[in-house]
Every structure is written in structure tokens, then in C-alpha cells.
Symmetry: C3
């Protein structure tokens, strides 16, 4: 299947770059774009040469969310449900996938675009980036976007965004936990690459076990979370990379990962 | 039924004002006041002309919490349980109701008064407002208030409040997510009205669907939350207001809501 | 049983001090140390003269986490599982125990050491303390530590720590909710004692009911949490200390707790 509106680039060191490429519609998340995103994330997740994924938008900004012209044309209940379910699948794939995904944001990340940022493991933006869940302005509450955003941001701050639809700036987005940090336009790329390279230098297997366990244990009560992660750590410990890593640490040398 | 200690005022534009009016007891949440609050919230929730509710206190401050003289006089286990259950019902009504509720705080919001602020969708206060869960000082841990506050505030900050009973100031309450913002006494009213008007300008139906879905999805694991909100967004999309809103957006005009 | 690597000291006023005492290994959490910690916490939890516990490390810092030399020597799957389960038991004991535990941190609190800080009810550190979940650097993801830390800190900030393994400073740890506050080396002890004394001046019974209810209700949906805490408050109200506390408050005198 050919990817529509999605570009994939190899940045070296196991870092892959996904670009949403539909600048005419401000990288709207149409059926076609969502399908391509889902396929791309699934493919990279299985690709052993991919260690980290950087997600960004082409053109003026990150993404304006759903394609409203397309949404208006759907008309049927079943088609809406199909669209929102497909969009949810993309978000769940990012969360449940084994490769860390870093959102690299410029311009606006609105509605489902904001949801995409919230769904990524890490997010960095330019100083002047804007984030919003503005559905309420067009009569369509950002109900699926809030699933992702409300799991990163405290409730009252999130409710303000949802009820007023008003955008927030990068510094406030950092303060409330929606993004990790923000930089000037000229520095954003190198800062994101620095983080990506750091993560890519770790054992692929270790990252995979840890990332997947992170979101799973968050949905468990404390005792169950400990019982589950104790098993995951044991599994991790029985693999070669932990043994090599601990030996390297004790012998004060660099580890050589088997699972690069 | 006549409302005791609760005043309701129409501020226009679909904005209703509820005032806790028992300044002699610092707006304590007695049986009578809690019953009146519950009835008032229930009534306004069914009232199609009400779009947003602003909740405040008459006199020196917002509310000091339970009426300790009354509490002391209850004596029987069954009466205590009745009181705490009634209080919980008021808080649950605010959370599960379909109309956004904004707390407008001055002076002190202590114990069940702090819980009331935490339970509202949004909260604003004066610069010098104080918040506390001081039950530990009188041997009665703020166990029901912490249900509301601990769902807005991170755990260690909340534990400090609960274990020491010490009050916090407005700027710190904003920092930890208990309130949205604070203003000087002279500006608080106009700022709260501005937010209320913004929310009141949206489709009533959209806000209702969204507000109720917000708290529900927060209690679900991720996959269930997405499946539930995808259904809610489809429901929202099939209603006239979303179609009108999207058309208005694409045609660059103001939407005319059916569900004002 | 003799305690290995754990010192207990009575600081007066019902305040007990637990010191992890294995400075040669940076207070690593070996089998022996974890067993001693578990026994010590269990013993103090049943001791009616203990009202608050302050936990700290001897020597250069708080704790570097698991003992990697020991970990390397374990080799068998069953032994790893035993180690991680024992470590989890210590953390769960702190959370589910009835006595508030305050971490007093200097130097580094890394991996399971960071988990220990996160598990305490309150935490204070020196200005130059460092916190990290650096397992990824040795190929062993901090999967059990993240259970504790991710319940105190928002997700993206936590993910950054886990995926990069990089340490954070005290001021940032405060900002994201991992610790309550930080002080200069010369002030830390007196500030922690001040908080401990404040908590120790409350009714033991009230604190016990409240602390245990706090973590339990956080794992319940809203309606269940209210129903549970209403029962706990009634139980609390039927005990002598609440009656005495309310009477003392109304009579403007100091309460005399039965359950000191």
C-alpha cells in the first residue's frame, strides 16, 4: 500500500522521521492520512532498525486536526464512527507500540492534532507553537482528543481548554505537562535530535519492555502494578543486555548491546 | 421546597449565580444548606435556559466546610453517615451534571468548602484566598474532601495539606492545579464573567455531551475510553449543532446554535 | 532478627528516624537491607509510640538503588523475581502502613532509591540532591521504580526520565511533584523536623484512618470513593478524638487526644 500524505525518512542512528505531508489542509487528519499514519507506525514498530520515531508536520504547522470538509461530507453515523475509531487506533498504536515516539511541533497542534502530541511519549515545540482542543467552537466537543490530553494534564487546566476552546502557548503547555520543553525555531531540530540520539543509544529490547510496561502499569492498582512490573524486570534481567549493561557498569566500560 | 441559605440569581446570557448565604457560620455546609444546594444544582441542571453556573459565598469568604456545632450534636452513627453521604451527593451532582460550574472564591475555602471548589469544573479566586483540608486539627481527617482534591492535585502536595492541616495560598493553589487562576478582588468578578460568557456562547448540547464524557472517560482504561468517546463524538456529530458549526466554520460565519 | 544496614533512632515526640546504613555501597538496596527495612517499617507500624517516620541515608547520599554486584550474582530467574518482589513489598508497606513516612534526601536517590522517595508520603531534599531512574543505561529499565514515580509525576516528565536515564535536580523534582520542597544542607534537618512535629501533634488514630483511606480511594471510581470515605469519616467521627477535637475547637482550647 502506498502512503498518502505521510513521508518517512531515515535520519541515521536508528532514528526515523515521520512527516505528515498535507500542508494545503494544515496536515488535517483525513481518512487517507490516518490510514497512512497507522500503517507507517505499525511498519516501523516491526522494523528492527528503527529505535526512535520523530513525528512532525510539513508546512505552516503540526496539524489542525480532522479534515472538516471531509467530516461534513460523511453524513452517515456509521462513517463517523469509522473515522473516530480509526483515529483512536492511530493514537493507541503510538501508546502501545514498542518504539518511543517524539512529537516535534511547530505552528498549531489543534484538536486531533493536539491529541497526537499528547499521545506521543515525548513532545517538544517551538516557542510560538499553539495547542488547543477547540471543538466546542464548531459544536463538536473534543471528546476523543481529551482522552489523550487529560491523561497528561491536570483536570482543571484541561477543562478550561475544552470548555472555552481557547489555545494555549508553548510555555503554558510545558507548565501543565502537555509537552516536555520548547525551543527557538533554530534550535528545536537539534534539541529533538539530541534526545532521540540519547534514547537510540540504549538497548532496543530494554526500551521496548519498559515503554510497553509503563502505560500498562498506570492502569493497574498498586499491588497489581508491582506484581506485573516485577515480572517484567525479571524478564528484562534474564535477557543478555541487562547482564552486559550491569557488567559494563561494574567494569567501568561502555556496554555493547545485543539488541541495538 | 424553599431553599435555605442558598440564593439563585440570573446574570443573563444563560449564566446563573448560586450564592451560599449563611455568613454567620462562614457559609458552613449544614444539612439544610447541603439539601438546598443539591436541589438547586438539580433544578438548574434540568433548566434549558441555564448554560453555566457560578458558585460563590456571601460575606467574608467562600465556605468553612461542615457546621461543627451541628456535627457535634448529631451523635449517632447513622446521622453522620447521612450527613457525609448528602455532602457527597452534592459533589457528585456537580461533577456528573451537564452544566459547567465555576467556583468564584474569596476568603477561605476550607474542608468541605475546599472540596466544593475542587469539585467544580473551573475555579477562580482572589489573590488572598486560602484553601485547606484542616480536619486533622480537630481529629477528623478530611477523608471525603480528599476525594475531590486528590483528583486535581498531585499526591505529595495533597498529602502535605492533609497531614499538616495547613492552609495554602491562591498562587500555590494555582500552581498545583486546585484553581485555574486568581485575580485582585476588584477584577475577579469580571474575569469570571468573561469565562462564563465564553462558555455560554457555545452549543448547550455540545457542552453537555462533552462535560459528562470528560469525567466518565477519566475512570476508564485507554482502549475503553477511546471506544466510549468515539461513540459520544458520533452522537455529537449526528446532532444539528455540529453540522451547523462545521458549516459556519467552513463558510467563515458565526454559527447559529439550535441548542442555545 | 537483627537489622542489617538499618539504624533506628528515637527523635522524641513520637518521631522515629530510620537510617539506611551501608555507605560503602551508597546505601544500595540489597536483599539484606530490603529485609531489614521491611521488618523495621512493619515493627514501627505496630508500635503505638511511633507517630511519624523520617527515612534517610548514611554517608554521601540517600540510596543508589539495587546492589548491582549482588544482582549480577543472582543469575536465576526465581532469585530475580524474589528480589523485585521483596523490594515491592517494602514500597507497598510504606504506602499501606498507618504511619506517615517522610523521606529526607541528600546526594543521590537513584533507581530503587528514587522509588523509595516517591513511595514516601512526603519528601524533602537538599538543594543539590539528584533523582534519576537510570536503569536504561545498564539495559535494565526502571520498571518497578516507575510504578511509584509515575503515580506522583505527570507522564511526559516521567517518560523523559525513564527513556534517557538522565538525572533531575531538586528544584525540578519539586516542580513535577516528586518531592515537596528542598532546602540548604544546613536547614534540611530542622525543616523536616518541623513538619514531623506538626504531624506528630495530631491524633494518631485520625492520621492512621486518613493515610490509609487516601491511597485506597485514589484507586476507586468517584462514586465508590465517596461511599468508602463517607464510611471512614463516620468511623473517625464515632471515635473519641474527633469529638474532643471539635469540642476543643468550639471552646477555643487545645484538644487532648486519647490516641496520642
Amino acid at each position: 500500500m502506498r502512503n498518502i500524505n505521510v513521508l518517512v525518512k531515515n535520519l541515521g542512528n536508528g532514528i526515523k522521521n515521520i512527516k505528515i505531508n498535507d500542508p494545503k489542509t494544515y496536515n488535517s487528519l483525513s481518512f487517507a492520512t490516518l490510514k497512512s499514519l497507522l500503517n507507517t507506525f505499525k511498519k516501523l514498530d516491526k522494523d528492527s532498525s528503527t529505535k526512535v520515531i520523530i513525528l512532525e508536520g510539513v508546512g505552516k504547522g503540526f496539524s489542525a486536526g480532522h479534515n472538516l470538509k471531509e467530516v461534513r461530507s460523511l453524513k452517515k453515523r456509521s462513517k463517523y464512527l469509522k473515522l473516530f475509531n480509526l483515529c483512536s487506533k492511530v493514537m493507541i498504536q503510538i501508546v502501545e507500540g514498542r518504539k518511543p515516539v517524539i512529537a516535534k511541533v511547530h505552528g498549531a497542534a489543534y484538536a486531533a492534532g493536539c491529541q497526537l502530541v499528547a499521545s506521543c511519549d515525548l513532545a517538544y515545540s517551538t516557542n510560538d507553537s499553539m495547542f488547543a482542543t477547540p471543538g466546542v467552537n464548531i459544536g463538536l466537543f473534543c471528546s476523543t482528543p481529551m482522552v489523550a490530553v487529560s491523561r497528561k494534564v491536570t483536570r482543571k487546566k484541561m477543562m478550561k481548554m475544552l470548555l472555552t476552546g481557547e489555545p494555549i502557548k508553548a510555555n503554558y503547555a510545558k507548565e501543565i505537562g502537555l509537552i516536555n520543553d520548547y525551543y527557538s525555531k533554530s534550535k528545536l531540530n537539534s534539541e529533538v535530535l539530541k534526545v532521540a540520539k540519547t534514547i537510540a543509544s540504549k538497548s532496543n529490547l530494554t526500551i521496548k519492555i519498559g515503554k510497553q510496561a509503563f502505560y500498562k502499569q498506570l492502569e493497574m492498582p498498586l499491588r497489581k502494578a508491582y506484581s506485573y512490573t516485577s515480572k517484567m524486570m525479571t524478564l528484562n534481567m534474564m535477557a543478555m543486555d541487562a547482564k552486559e549493561g550491569i557488567s559494563a557498569f561494574l567494569e567501568k566500560r561502555k556496554p555493547k548491546w545485543k539488541n541495538k
